[in-house]
């Protein structure tokens, strides 16, 4: 079939999709964010409330599901489009607000601006994304449609130029596609930052049939959910990227490796594959071009190390998910020994826009060595948690304080953990480094897959390093000596330090061991596992020393190094909240009516401190615990 008929094929599915989407513009539509973050916040109840209210009102309106637009802190979110009004997004929805919006806005033209978060189109009444700092810093390439289209309906993607890149690709030579990808200098977004075009070229030139394309959706970093959100919100962009890749390298079969813990993502991808097949976009002779490619889902069983490509392949072959020596690289000898391209979800998402708009367009964003955007899941002690997409080269300060709107309760910034458990903890002084693959490496962290955990003054960096190491130690497959035994030895030392049993010589052993594990481990899990410890030793050594020399936890977080104390001068006889909040009856009422804590019974659950009303603020943490004697000594 010639290229003209591919164009006709696309024009036909596009016009059908446009007609379907345009029809929706004739009436009010409530778009509810029902990705996992929305569902967890109660989106399904809100959806029911809307449906019920609309049914009772007798209006001709529709309720549709969309994915996540990244404003996870404000979930459940809805976007209401009503003819004659700009599309408006509302946050923090509940059933009551749903009823109110139907009654006031849908039935009576009052858009209830007091509940609105942002307008989607420029208008005279309400600010749009670009009127907020977040909108100024964000630039969306792969999250562009997330949260705005129905992930369960392929026509919504097609109406937004979806699969146009595929139609263009099928009229190019595979070498041209690879050249475009190489020109774009796109670097893999799974963490290592390897040039995608080079990987594709290696695979295309490698001998062996059939070739495979695998999408790595085995996202497992604590606090990271970029891939899940993309798969849940816009699965077709990933699929389109995979088909383009398959055409470029000559693959006939593809797999989406998604963790079984992501049921919603699996559901959305399943629907998407099915619909793509029905449209002739997957299977035999895609778009009538004669090119055959089909996809299926492989569900990962939850081992973190299976995100490592050789372990992922082993698990797909029915073996233990354990990393293998590289080379050979999967691009040469991958799944079942055949040439295999393995790309991260985000990497594949960049492919359709790059093909459609060209390598030069892509390179106009970001830095020369790391073009494009970076997607982060911004979590932890930050006001606006969620998914963020900013150009490479944006500073961490902009991401945390402008996009994320800073730290709650006016607390001080302590550190930001970037790149997941194998990333590093960077201090205030690193906030002005422009984020890209190379600058983060220099600072001791890694880009990783994009987890960004913000920590405030209440977070102990020794405990944080211990937490991440505990994670990697637990997830070590146990194959190689350094990772299996080394991470365990490091964890034991860190545990000692957080208990106040550390010695200064331990810091030297920790550093040496960390460097050796980094240099000696077989796979990247081991090679990067010591990063949180190395970076905290580099930037927060004083905290380690305080734990060792003074048995003090400066952030007052390590339970063995703190005691809870109720300051009698602040405590009130009129209040009893802390007594009721204590699960072990450690808090008691003294003879004079003030409260005190029986240290023998206290389990340091923090309940009394949390419940003590702000007007008293009588419960404090003391570190080192010996301070208690001083306080109680003053009393007598």
């Amino acid at each position: 079939m010639n290229s003209a008929s591919i164009g006709d094929f696309y024009a036909e599915i596009k016009s059908k999709a446009d007609a379907k989407v345009d029809a929706l513009k004739e009436k009010p539509v409530v778009w509810i964010g029902t990705a996992t973050c929305g569902k967890a916040a109660g989106a399904m109840e809100v959806k029911e409330a809307f449906e019920e209210a609309i049914k009772n009102s007798g209006l001709d309106a529709e309720v549709k599901e969309v994915g996540c637009m990244g404003y996870c802190y404000a979930e459940p979110l809805v976007i209401i489009s009503k003819p004659g009004f700009p599309d408006i997004c509302y946050g923090y929805l509940d059933e009551g607000l749903a009823n109110r919006l139907v009654e006031d806005f849908l039935m009576n033209d009052d858009p209830c601006f007091e509940y609105a978060l942002v307008a989607l189109e420029t208008n005279d009444y309400f600010p749009t994304f670009s009127d907020f700092p977040r909108g100024v810093y964000e630039e969306k390439i792969i999250l562009e449609h997330c949260g705005f289209i129905d992930p369960g309906d392929i026509d919504h993607y097609i109406a937004r130029e979806g699969y146009a890149s595929l139609a263009k690709t099928l009229r190019m030579q595979p070498e041209e596609v690879i050249r475009e990808m190489k020109d774009s200098k796109l670097r893999g977004r799974g963490g290592a930052g390897f040039p995608t075009g080079v990987k594709w070229e290696t695979c295309s030139m490698a001998a062996g049939e059939p070739k495979y394309v695998i999408c790595n959706g085995d996202e497992g970093d604590p606090g990271a959910f970029m891939d899940r959100n993309i798969l849940e919100s816009n699965p077709h962009q990933v699929i389109e990227g995979m088909i383009i890749c398959a055409y470029a390298v000559g693959a006939s079969r593809g797999y989406l490796y998604i963790r079984a813990e992501y049921p919603q993502a699996i559901l959305r991808v399943k629907q998407a594959i099915q619909q793509a097949r029905e449209k002739g976009l997957l299977g035999d002779s895609i778009m009538g071009s004669g090119f055959n490619f089909d996809l299926e889902i492989f569900q990962g069983s939850g081992a973190f190390v299976c995100g490592e490509e050789t372990a992922l392949l082993s698990s797909m072959e029915g073996k233990m998910g354990i990393p293998q020596q590289r080379p050979p690289h999967p691009a040469v000898s991958g799944l079942r020994g055949k040439p295999t391209v393995l790309n991260n979800v985000k990497t594949l998402c960049y492919v359709p826009p790059i093909i459609r708009k060209g390598a030069d367009w892509f390179k106009s964003t970001g830095t020369p060595e790391s073009p494009g955007t970076a997607v982060f899941s911004l979590v932890g002690k930050v006001n606006c948690t969620g998914l963020v997409e900013v150009p490479m080269g944006t500073t961490l300060r902009n991401v945390i304080f402008d996009v994320g709107e800073g730290i709650p309760e006016e607390k001080g910034f302590r550190a930001v953990q970037i790149g997941g458990p194998s990333g590093g903890c960077l201090p205030e002084s690193a906030l002005d480094i422009p984020i890209d693959f190379d600058s983060l490496q220099e600072a001791g962290a890694i880009m990783g897959s994009g987890g960004l955990v913000v920590m405030d003054e209440d977070d102990c960096m020794v405990a944080v390093a211990r937490y991440f190491l505990e994670f990697t130690q637990h997830e070590s497959c146990g194959k190689c000596t350094f990772c299996r035994l080394g991470t365990r030895q490091m964890l034991d030392l860190l545990t000692k330090i957080t208990k106040g049993e550390g010695e200064l010589s331990h810091l030297e052993i920790l550093r040496e061991l960390a460097e050796d594990i980094k240099g000696g481990s077989l796979c990247n899990l081991g090679k990067t596992a010591p990063n949180p410890v190395l970076t905290t030793l580099r930037y927060f050594k004083d905290e380690y020393e305080a734990h060792i020399n003074k048995r003090t936890c400066p952030a007052k977080m390590c339970p063995d190094l703190i005691v809870y104390y109720i300051a009698p001068e602040k405590c009130s006889k009129l209040c009893n909240v802390c007594v009721g909040s204590c699960p072990t009856e450690a808090v008691y009422t003294r003879e004079d009516g003030l409260k005190a804590i029986d240290q023998e019974k206290c389990v340091k659950c923090n309940n009394c401190l949390k419940t003590c009303p702000p007007e008293y603020n009588a419960v404090v943490k003391l570190s080192p615990p010996e301070l208690l004697k001083e306080k109680e000594g003053n009393l007598s």
Partner: protein
């Protein structure tokens, strides 16, 4: 026949077939490099013991010699401060999870851990690290040998030989992380497994994890 090349190891010019792994080229020419998990005939390299590091001119960091194909003009040093440090740490880590009782051990004198210690001047004790708990139970169900996991270094040689030479497949790796062990399917005693007591695994074991019953 593959092309012959010349490389230099510790100042010695050596001729070898191109592509052969450096570890074997060195060993066959009488140059010792510590190793536990390497099996020459195994194409799917384990590279798990992390003891065979060497320095190669032009490479930024030490590399494992068991995975490195030799090539023309390659210049190798088997010892350097960086190599020694990695080997020392890996060795001490292995010992930290090992029942150290050399004087009463059946492999005393023929143990490969002892050989590594001797060749590299390493101590057979754990100094920087904490000895970790090991499994104390010994599988003495076979008639001719015993399996003592507390002395296993997880090199996997027994597994490879059981599968590929004996063609029995009675044992494999199971569990993860620090709990990774060599075990039978379902962790039943060896006598209840398909094990034929051919004894190849005992020959393959570098230490005393698999050891003949003393007559």
């Amino acid at each position: 026949m593959s092309k012959m090349i010349t490389l230099t190891i510790d100042g010695r010019k050596i001729t070898a077939s191109e592509g052969e792994k450096l570890l074997w080229v060195a060993l066959e020419n009488g140059i010792y490099i510590p190793n536990l998990c390497a099996i020459k005939e195994n194409n799917r390299l384990s590279a798990s013991c992390r003891l065979c590091f060497v320095e190669v001119e032009g490479l930024a960091a030490p590399v494992t010699s068991c995975t490195l194909p030799v090539s023309e003009g390659m210049v190798v040093k088997t010892r350097s401060p960086r190599v020694d440090r990695l080997v020392q740490t890996a060795f001490e880590l292995l010992l930290s999870h090992h029942r150290l009782e050399c004087s009463s051990c059946s492999k005393n004198g023929s143990c490969e851990l002892q050989k590594i210690a001797k060749e590299r001047g390493l101590k057979l004790r754990v100094k920087r690290f904490k000895p970790l708990d090991y499994e104390t139970e010994v599988d003495d169900s076979p008639k001719t040998f015993v399996f003592d996991r507390s002395k296993c270094v997880l090199c996997g040689r027994c597994i490879w030989i059981c599968r590929n030479i004996a063609k029995v497949g009675a044992i494999g790796f199971s569990r993860r992380g620090l709990e990774r062990v060599v075990s039978t399917f379902g962790d039943v005693p060896l006598a209840e497994s398909p094990c034929t007591e051919c004894g190849l695994c005992v020959e393959a074991c570098p230490g005393a994890a698999l050891a003949r019953v003393q007559a």
